[in-house]
């Protein structure tokens, strides 16, 4: 076969998965809550007021917190894990769709990127 996936490939894939889940699910709680560079300039230069409310500001995960979950750590962690999952499915699914296939009879790979 053209590119057999070695065990060390799996190490990299798992590494990214675990890192993403830990960063979004746990470490994100400790992220700085100061405005980011652009927002800070917008405040300092007085154009922050031009910001309009987001059309989806009442969606269940808006602002990286899970609605109806009071524990701040859990609320943010769940939102982060959900975001990692959504991004993985969307980007991974898209990549599986657009990738080139080395031989037409290769059907042993499913649509989902990782189990």
């Amino acid at each position: 076969m053209k590119a057999p996936r070695s065990r060390r490939d799996i190490v990299v894939l798992l590494g990214f998965l675990v890192a993403a889940l830990v960063l979004a699910g746990v470490v994100s709680y400790y992220a700085s809550s100061s405005p980011d560079g652009l927002n800070k300039v917008a405040i300092d230069k007085r154009f922050a007021g031009a910001e309009e409310p987001h059309d989806l500001e009442n969606s269940p995960l808006a602002g990286y917190s899970t609605s109806d979950v009071d524990n701040e750590r859990l609320s943010g962690g769940l939102a982060g894990v959900a975001g990692v999952g959504a991004t993985l499915v969307l980007a991974g699914g898209l990549a599986m769709l657009v990738r080139r296939r080395s031989s037409p009879d290769e059907t042993d790979h499913g649509a989902s990127p990782v189990a």
């Binding site: 960063l23 652009l38 031009a50 409310p53 059309d55 991004t87 993985l88 969307l90 898209l94 990127p113």
Partner: protein, 232 residues
Amino acid sequence: MHVPDGFIDAPTSLAAGAVAVVGIGLCLRGAHRELDERSAPLAGLVAAFVFAAQMLNFPVASGTSGHLLGGVLAAILIGPWSGALAVTTVLLVQALLFADGGLTALGVNVINMAFVTILVGYPIFRTIVRVLPRRSVAPIAAAVAALVSVPVASFSFVLLFAIGGTTDLSLGAVTTAVVSVHVLIGIGEAVITGLTVASVMAVRPDLVFGARGLLAPVKLRLHSPPTTADAR
């Protein structure tokens, strides 16, 4: 660097959206050439990692934070076209699920964070590794490219603000303020990008798209396992 709704007027946002759609079309074609059954799963995970890293705002100056943009990182790991698609996916998820980054500003955000970072950063990375084609150079080249990509992406925002900003401001002052703070954020981008590329290269160097050309000839002469010979 996510632009909310209201900063940029409707016609400019619409035009940016059109540019983004055309760009995504080109990316889909380019990603078809870059991704195979081995790198496609990596593409999904790199996007997920960029999403997670973007949640981690780090302090850069008093009362100001920044986070990874991830364009250069994704481009080096999975290819420039696929990298732009990965960051675009992250921006879509953020805008649609987390109300982060305006819906009308999606085109603007895709241009600044998914396209400009890579259009600027990836050629810098490739130029450095072409001049110094050694494995150990790749993480440093990645860091340099990442460092430059962030202020340039922020300057791209200023340009769009100059065209269609809803607030009348001295553009000189806005440029100075936006670009200078993003030079600082770029240092964080450089550290994260360099360390991540170094980590992957330590385990599986031939999985790093941007470093493949560097390693293949040496590896072939050393008669290493056949898997590396396939990585083109």
